[in-house]
């Protein structure tokens, strides 16, 4: 067992030494793999964050109920009472028509137009949060409120959030396809790197086969090389994605300050990070395994010449 471990340790050390002999080439390979991996991972991170916030919005869908323009204070108060008593309603906010007009004036930059209006065109409104936020329940609530007297129009405000959610699911699929393609590319790159290595070490492989090396012994350093290269690519991808998130968050800080909302991308979790190291390592190992298996069979002492 210790001998076996020592053998693996030596193979590993020899692999590191091999990488050390061609630092520039190795670094370039890591960079290529890292950049390729960072594309789907970065896309995934952005989508994941957007989806989390869209879920948050979609999870609290609101129903806006607009009163008829000529509804009286008493009629509005009646609706308010009904909403208070309705078990489907979690909470609601009343927006008087004057306040709505003020908001429009301030937020839309249409102050002149608003000022020139002969009278307020906006109705009184209630913004209602439902207790149950499933689409069916919301629709039922909408229809119920529609039936109440002097309610002119009822609107579901969550529709856009659900559309965003669907778009993001599509984006996730794109990220997955991109990821799968680049994983394939990683296997191909490793396959080729290892192929060149096997060919340049042809004589060496022949000699150690002659003095009794098993295929496993010959394969081992190449497999380590593939795994190590994949893993290093993963590290580069992690640095790129983490750095990217940090940079975006710094700029988002200013932006969200203006909009008074704090939207920040979440950093990669520990699980994500480990996956980003282990998954490319496994792919590299696999690419190397394919390559060595294929090319080792061609190198048999005595069959040549």
């Amino acid at each position: 067992m210790t001998a076996w471990l020592a053998q693996h340790g030596r193979s590993f050390a020899a692999t590191l030494a091999k990488l050390g002999r061609t630092p520039l080439g190795a670094a370039l390979n890591f960079l290529v793999i890292g950049i390729a991996l960072s594309l789907p991972v970065g896309l995934y991170v952005v989508i994941d964050n957007l989806q989390a916030s869209s879920h948050q919005l979609a999870a609290e869908p609101q129903v806006s109920a607009f009163m008829a323009l000529d509804a009286s204070r008493a009629e509005v108060a009646q609706i308010e009472t009904r909403l208070k008593q309705n078990p489907r309603v979690q909470r609601f906010r009343f927006v008087p028509r004057d306040e709505a007009l003020q908001e429009l004036r301030q937020s839309s930059g249409l102050a002149d137009v608003v000022d020139s209006l002969p009278h307020n065109p906006l109705p009184d409104a209630f913004i209602v949060n439902a207790r149950d936020s499933t689409p069916q329940a919301l629709e039922a609530l909408r229809e119920e409120i529609m039936q109440w007297p002097r309610v002119a129009h009822v609107q579901l405000d969550a529709a856009w959030a659900r559309r965003l959610d669907a778009a993001l699911r599509f984006g996730r699929l794109v990220a997955a396809i991109l990821g799968a393609l680049l994983a394939l590319a990683l296997v191909a790159v490793t396959f080729n790197t290892i192929r060149l290595q096997v060919l340049t070490q042809r004589d060496e492989i022949e000699v150690i086969k002659l003095i009794g090396a098993t295929d496993a012994f010959i394969r081992r350093p190449f497999l380590y090389f593939g795994a190590l290269q994949g893993c290093a690519g993963g590290v580069v991808a992690w640095l790129i994605v983490s750095g990217g998130i940090w940079l975006i968050n710094r700029n988002l800080g200013e932006l969200s300050h203006v909009y008074e909302s704090l939207f920040q991308l979440k950093q990669l979790t520990l699980g994500d990070s480990l996956g980003l190291l282990i998954f490319p390592a496994a792919l590299g190992w696999f690419g190397a395994w394919l390559s060595v298996g294929r090319h080792l069979a061609l190198i048999e002492p005595g069959v040549d010449k």
């Binding site: 020592a6 053998q7 030596r10 004589d203 000699v207 150690i208 009794g212 012994f217 005595g302």
Partner: protein, 217 residues
């Protein structure tokens, strides 16, 4: 220890390298395989370490039929031999020490034990002072001695040498001959394929002569 019976080898393309060869070598013997070039000496050695398989007949080493050996078992067969090549087959990207350590690494020896054995083997062939040197800096005779050190480092019971003195001048060849004699004296079976008559005269071994792939009487 080694026995050939009715062994024939025909290469793809039709060349008949060996024809109905049969002989045995006992443990501890010193045997020369001689014959003109192309007589089948090298093929005979290749059959012993399963580089080639016989077309017919059987090659038995230590009671094991080499011709029926599974590919997975071949590395373990080869570890029982010490192989010495005319072209040395050294690895030029690593030191003298690392070249000799290779068979021990393959067999999974611990570092300490391996280092001790490597130095003993290098001492035996007189190259201990060069352990950190690269093989390319050694002379032809020294390279051949290095190849011998690598072949004996794991203490094999059988040494196989293919034209070990083929590229060497007489003085070096004599040194190599003495080395083989000393291994044989401690009980190692030594099989040498050569047409070096001087070596033959010096060691006075048992001789197996091949002629056009057949045993000559």
């Amino acid at each position: 220890m080694i026995s050939f019976s009715h062994v024939s080898k025909r290469y793809p393309g039709g060349h008949q390298a060996l024809k109905d060869v049969g002989f045995t070598i006992e443990a501890g013997e010193l045997v020369f395989i001689t014959g003109h070039s192309g007589a089948g000496k090298t093929t005979l050695l290749k059959l012993l370490v399963a580089i080639e398989r016989p077309t017919s007949g059987s090659v038995i080493v230590n009671g094991q039929n080499i011709s029926a050996l599974k590919p997975r078992a071949v590395p373990f067969l080869r570890r029982r031999f010490g192989l010495i090549f005319q072209d040395h087959k050294l690895l030029f990207d690593r030191s003298v020490f690392d070249n000799v350590a290779l068979p021990l690494q393959i067999a999974g020896y611990g570092m300490k034990d391996a280092a001790r054995r490597v130095r003993a083997a290098l001492d035996k062939v007189g190259l201990l002072a060069y352990e950190k040197a690269l093989p390319i800096t050694l002379s032809g005779g020294e390279q051949q001695r290095l190849c011998i050190a690598r072949a004996i480092v794991h203490r094999p019971a059988i040494l196989l040498a293919d034209e070990p003195t083929g590229n060497l001048d007489a003085e070096y060849a004599a040194e190599i001959g003495e080395l083989f004699r000393s291994f044989n004296q401690v009980g190692v079976t030594v099989v040498i394929a050569t047409h070096d008559q001087t070596l033959l005269a010096r060691l006075a071994p048992r001789v197996v002569t091949l002629k056009h792939g057949e045993l000559a009487a």
